[in-house]
Amino acid sequence: MIDLLLTRYNYVAVALLLGIGVYMMIENANLVKKVIGMNVFQTGIFLFFITTAYVDGGNPPLVKGGQVGEYASPLPHVLILTAIVVGVSLTAVALALIVRIYAEYGTLNENVLREVRADE
């Protein structure tokens, strides 16, 4: 069991990142930290994809004059580049919304926000 965890440490990291991300999103009252949690969660998924592309003893997928041999799969890397772009845009929109919420209510704390909005 320990051996399995030690040789598959990437997947352990994926599970941890996903767990930490979800926990931050649910448990943290601060809106900015929720967004950071969202980023951590996505990073876990990115790491999962990158790990799946790894080939034991594989070369980088660069073709130089025909002979290549074993090489890592380039496709997941490309997919994750796209996903990272999406993640950055999401973070930008989220932060813009948080700025607006702060300007409106003067707080970033979810619990305080709920109380303020209940009085509206």
Binding site: I45, F48, L90, E104, L113
Partner: protein
Amino acid sequence: MSDVPALLVAVPIVAGVVALVVGQWRDRAAWAVALVASAAQVVLAGSLATTVFRDGTVSYEVGNFAAPYGIELVVDGLSASVAVLVAVVALGVLVYSRVSGPHTPAFHAEYLLLVAGLSGMSITGDVFNLYVFLEITGLAAYALVASGDGGRAAVGALKYLIVGTVGASLYLLGVGYAFVATGTLNMADMSAKLAEVGYADPLVLAAFGLIVTGLAVKSAIFPLHTWQPEAYAGAPDSVSAFISALVSTVSAYAIARLVVSVFTVDFLRANPVAQDLVVALAGVSVVAGSALAVTQSEIKRMLAYSSVSQFGLVVAAFALATESAFVGGTIHLLGHAVMKGGLFMAAGAVAAATGARTVSEYRGLASRRPVLAGSFAVLALAMVGVPPAVGFVGKWYIALAAVEAEAWSIAVVILVSTLLTLAYFARVIERMYFASAPAATAADEATEPTPDAAVVDGGDGPLSGRGSPRSDGGADGPFALTPGVVALVVVVTVTSVALGFVATEYAQLLEQTLPPLLSP
């Protein structure tokens, strides 16, 4: 002609940029650009649908990269129908937004971006491409929800963003598992390879669970619906009409596409537990959504919870995966979009005319606003499933399928759902028709020198300013109601009834494209 599928995505994206640039010069010009693009979209989608229903499936290789490696756009009867729905509803809501606003160039750019994302989702044949379009749709929808005034819209949008991102990320993770199992991202190719890998493989099962959960978040199935009421209620009226009609609809279409075309019916037969779980979740969604809708006092929140319930019905139909269930699910999916869009438009128009946004404020509406109240009532009854409206046809097929498949619990849920739908709409109809008009409230007295004016003049005056005290920083401020908006609401109402008459023909048309889907 052969480039039509690509144009369906490219036209709104390019037009979105143009609208943003032109809008800097004059606000109304952005609307004109959006109108031209939406009209072009209707023509493109319509011609594509004609081709598909005449000649069969159309596929298009983006950038001429051969199919399993490059991205493929595949249009069959189902995706063509959804693409047409997106285009037509987009055009309708755009006309509505001419009066109701928002009028900023940013709104029109986001709007066209949303149309592009939704069209892309409906015609893509690649699971990762679907994720990208899912996120484009999401980003545009978050921004559109946030275009409402005040903090409420921003809070609703942020909640939508966080929950929606988790949903899309779960979908991406599911795609990752499926990719590890099959090594391909093309839907048709993946479907074949999944069969080779074996449907009992843990990777395949995990992929199915994650993909369905992720998309269920996006289509707001109970208990993953929590983002929806806040987002719909906080958004401007035109945006809630648009989002309620399309965003969840296309996500539910994506569930159907992945369950039926990628995992296939054989997967469901091989894993009855997976099928039962999805059907059970959907059944719970029907009941819980209705129950929550009954407890709402605000009209837009009630309509939002109603969607939770109706999408439960649609997903249950898709998960049953028999032919008539599938036809019923599709008809209800498309019909629901028209009806729910119409209901939100009517609610927005009522708010503009009278300021009424809660169930109790709808008291006596029929005498003050007979046309709007009538439209709302007809749309509500259509949603309940009174024949001959389209809501009836969809439910009829689904109920029939449930009985045929001997899924008795689901048959009961569908029949009960009709009663439950009636439960929350009957409250409104009763208030509108059988309760006397309210005495003017304190807020009205502040703005109106003679409190009885509303009753005396029959409520036909624009009653300017009445809505503003009650919009409590929520949706956009009331707009001046024009006859055009009322006419549009009436047109949507008539459409939702008329669709019921053509639904049977449509079902036959759809069945031609179904056999390869359901019995590969």
